[in-house]
Symmetry: C2
Subunit: 278 residues, 2 copies
């Protein structure tokens, strides 16, 4: 099997051969931003939202993107056409560049990856477990590559049968390492409204569910999660994923609740409709 | 001029040609550790301390080092001999490796750089300015590559004429982005005792100064810095560096104090003696 194509700065290259110089600031100081979206049958749902966020993250970390939006899209669709996966992930990565001193950002390196999509190995039907972890991301609204706690916690998650840490700080919930969090209480939907990465799936879930439910975006206290009727996560790979346990505490009766199940189905249709319409 | 040699995993390579694969976990999730020490005329002061910390950081992030201590030293001294700088920096970098999924650590990549040393462009005679910044490093005792705030703050530092941010959290001081902090008050030396990266220069400064001064390693409140008689930093490149201003607040009379000046001189001799003795 041939290696997929990827894009680096100004050219396409075989992924297996693609390299960056060892002076890159992401290697030395973990300095860079990225974004990730999905291709389904040649369509990229919500691509404009992901590009909005990517450029916002780059500006937030003061990294220049050498391609404008149209050029970036052109590279993405060229990769999709050439690789022909039909079901894949697209990752755009922007690093601090090839430094002189391993510390000062310079001209960024821009990489675009297109790799086959594999659904996360988790049970959407039964729901998943999270662990609570006290942590506050720095510049949470920008999608930086700073995932030290998320990566570091993986052995603990595995040992506990949990999929993600749910971060909280000063008694306030924020987000999991890679997804947004929602609570359902008395038929209302509640989700943290600041100090988080604003997910594209989160945005569209709120838009969609807002037609039926009252949605509150506000500070959510840690203890509210234990009295919630339902809890779920949203993310690009996860879409809507029921959460049924938090540490050793089972949420409600320990199975996905009716609102969550309804939103899972509706969101699936919501995405599919937009695939056709593009 | 030929490019210096560096080491990657199992071979030496010209620095200008050295590359890592684009799947490296440091690029994707900022996951890795490093350490940095100095060579002076073929000697590496406190090398064993730096190696202690490097292996401790690697273990802390659960990254295997493919070389044992003797093998690592052998590679370092081979680089020093071949590059022949006489006055250089040595950086050991260990990343999460070439991942399959851009998230799970795998077999780490080990890199050793040896580059000419340039003294920091700061006035040791007049002292430097810091800015206060509220931040708590994650796993502070391990030297991870997570320097997002330190790198991100550089334009602000430059605009204020400051060299580093001094981190504090919940009213307690910890460290600057790249150095340890010390206060002098009524002839005693005070320095944060936990929640920091334990610097090698810090360790030896304490050992040396402890012969003459009383030294307290304990929690240091933010307000103590404003009533200190003297403030200084310690680091591998900086050795002992006087701090004379914190944001807009001048420390004491705004010039390096007598204890700091004495320690600068004594530490210089302390290092030189150890160069000869090796």
């Amino acid at each position: 099997m041939t290696s997929p194509l990827c894009f680096i700065n100004d050219h396409f290259e075989s992924y297996s051969e693609a390299r960056v110089h060892v002076s890159d600031l992401a290697l030395h100081r973990g300095y860079g931003v990225f974004d990730y979206c999905r291709e389904i049958g040649g369509r990229v749902p919500f691509l404009e939202d992901y590009l909005d966020r990517f450029y916002r993250s780059a500006a937030g970390l003061r990294l220049d993107v050498s391609l404008n939006r149209e050029q970036l899209k052109e590279k993405i669709f060229y990769l999709l056409k050439e690789n022909g996966f039909a079901n894949s992930g697209i990752k755009i990565l922007l690093t601090g560049g090839d430094t002189d001193d391993f510390y000062q950002p310079v001209r960024p390196n821009l990489l675009i990856f297109n790799i086959p999509y594999h659904a996360p190995d988790i049970s959407f039907d039964r729901g998943v477990k999270l662990i609570l972890f006290e942590y506050q991301r720095f510049l949470p609204e920008f999608k930086s590559i700073n995932y030290l706690p998320g990566v570091w916690l993986q052995p603990l998650l595995k040992s506990k049968g949990a999929v993600e840490p749910l971060y909280h700080f000063n008694g306030i919930l924020s987000e999991t390492a890679r997804a947004n969090i929602f609570l359902v209480k008395n038929g209302e939907i509640i989700t943290p409204g600041k100090g988080i990465l604003f997910g594209v799936t989160r945005k569209h879930l709120i838009k969609m569910a807002g037609e039926t439910f009252n949605i509150e975006e506000r500070d959510v206290r840690l203890d509210e999660i234990f009295s919630a009727d339902e809890v779920f996560m949203t993310g690009t790979s996860k879409h809507v994923l029921p959460v049924i346990q938090m540490d050793d505490e089972v949420i409600a009766d320990g199975s996905p609740g009716p609102v969550t199940v309804r939103l899972m189905e509706e969101f699936s249709s919501y995405v599919n409709e937009r695939l056709i319409k593009i």
